[in-house]
Symmetry: C2
Subunit: 211 residues, 2 copies
DNA sequence: CACCGATCTGAACGGTGTCAACATAGATCT
DNA sequence: AGATCTATGTTGACACCGTTCAGATCGGTG
């Protein structure tokens, strides 16, 4: 019953469905937004029956978690890139913030899934273990920028920075700020201007000396 | 066909269904969370058929907007209260931030609905007109606390403060910070500690003098 | 009173998450 | 190799969802 002898005959077993499902989900997310992201639609996009995903994810939620995890990984590497490309350690922290917000702005649907999965969770997903997670990178950057290395103080500073970046990531989507953005030289100018007002992001050349 | 002659015979026409629906929605939201908030459930809770809401709201979304609007009003008055009860103008801004985050923490499901409705909106709902909206109160508080009254600068500062508060409102729900909260004297201590790290929130007694 | 418009009901449609029963394919054992 | 086991698919069903539409019911206006 093979389709056309050799080539594209869809096999009964997919081979790597879990990855295919995550990819399909991300495709739908980009193309049609989070509202269109139903489990059935993902299965459809992957060319598979609606029940097939349940052999790889116990839930719709578990699929979304996998998608979110990919997102956090990607964000982590963007952050790492921004940090390593910074000319000075003092500039790194701000650049990390900018990279974070820009990622969220460029992948709004994905970012939404990432944070939605985070909400009713008892722990933050991304940062705990990996030394190159977004979280620990921010910690390092804060210390390197002259922040207080005392663990308790550092944790507070990191939380503060993360709060600001997340808040800005969500607020930056309001069209209401369009004209303001334009007058600040585009999206990135806007982001930098806001981060400039938030103490945890050291302001090169305007802050008091680091030490 | 009246039930028991006079008293509680459910009338065919409800009288004030729109308000009853909003109230029912908020009840469900508090009791079972945002996941349980279906239009049918709201109608059920209000003791009405699933189609009845459509005579008062064109959409499920429009109902949620009404719920969100109530939330923003409530938040606005909480903020106003916190501001007016502050001993000094310099303390007011921080107290506003604390009140904002505490409101979000005490009404997490409502806050989620409020912001979800905000996301794909072209304008922010709450602040534009009313002089006692949360937004304009923050603006006033910033100026009164010694912030730059230049309009452009003030707008940036307000956005920055709002970003931080919103970010903290969402991050404060992570159980991961439980022990940290405890060591800081509870939820409010935690919130103040974080806001302390954010420049737009003036730090009484630690910041440079206002003028 | 007759009537009209606003409000509510009932039944229906397509879509959704999820599950149980069954089918198939690939791996493993003899 | 053949038999068997397990992982991975499919089909069909269930309850629920948002939404619509035709009809029932009521409050008010002529």
């Amino acid at each position: 019953m093979r389709e056309t002898a050799s080539a594209a005959a869809k096999p009964y077993h997919h081979g790597d469905l879990s990855r295919a499902l995550v990819m399909a989900a991300r495709r739908i997310l980009e193309a049609e937004g989070p509202g269109a992201l139903s489990l059935r639609a993902v299965a459809r996009e992957a060319g598979v029956s609606p029940a097939a995903p349940y052999h790889h994810f116990k839930d719709k939620n578990e699929l979304l978690e996998a998608v979110a995890h990919e997102g956090w990984m990607q964000l982590g590497s963007e952050v790492a890139k921004a940090r390593s490309e910074s000319p000075t350690q003092r500039a790194a922290l701000t650049n990390i913030g900018v990279a974070y917000v820009i990622f969220a702005r460029q992948n709004p649907a994905l970012y939404r899934v990432m944070y939605d999965g985070m909400r009713d969770r008892t722990e933050m997903p991304l940062h705990a273990k990996d030394s190159d997670s977004g979280w620990s990178q921010v910690e390092c950057a804060i210390v390197e920028a002259g922040g207080d290395p005392d663990p308790a103080e550092l944790q507070l500073a990191t939380i503060a920075a993360w709060c600001a970046a997340h808040g800005l990531a969500e607020m930056a989507s309001f069209r209401e700020f369009d004209s303001l953005k334009e007058s600040l030289g585009g999206e990135e100018g806007f982001i930098r201007a806001i981060l400039d007002h938030i103490g945890v992001f050291i302001r090169p050349g305007r802050d008091r000396p680091v030490q």
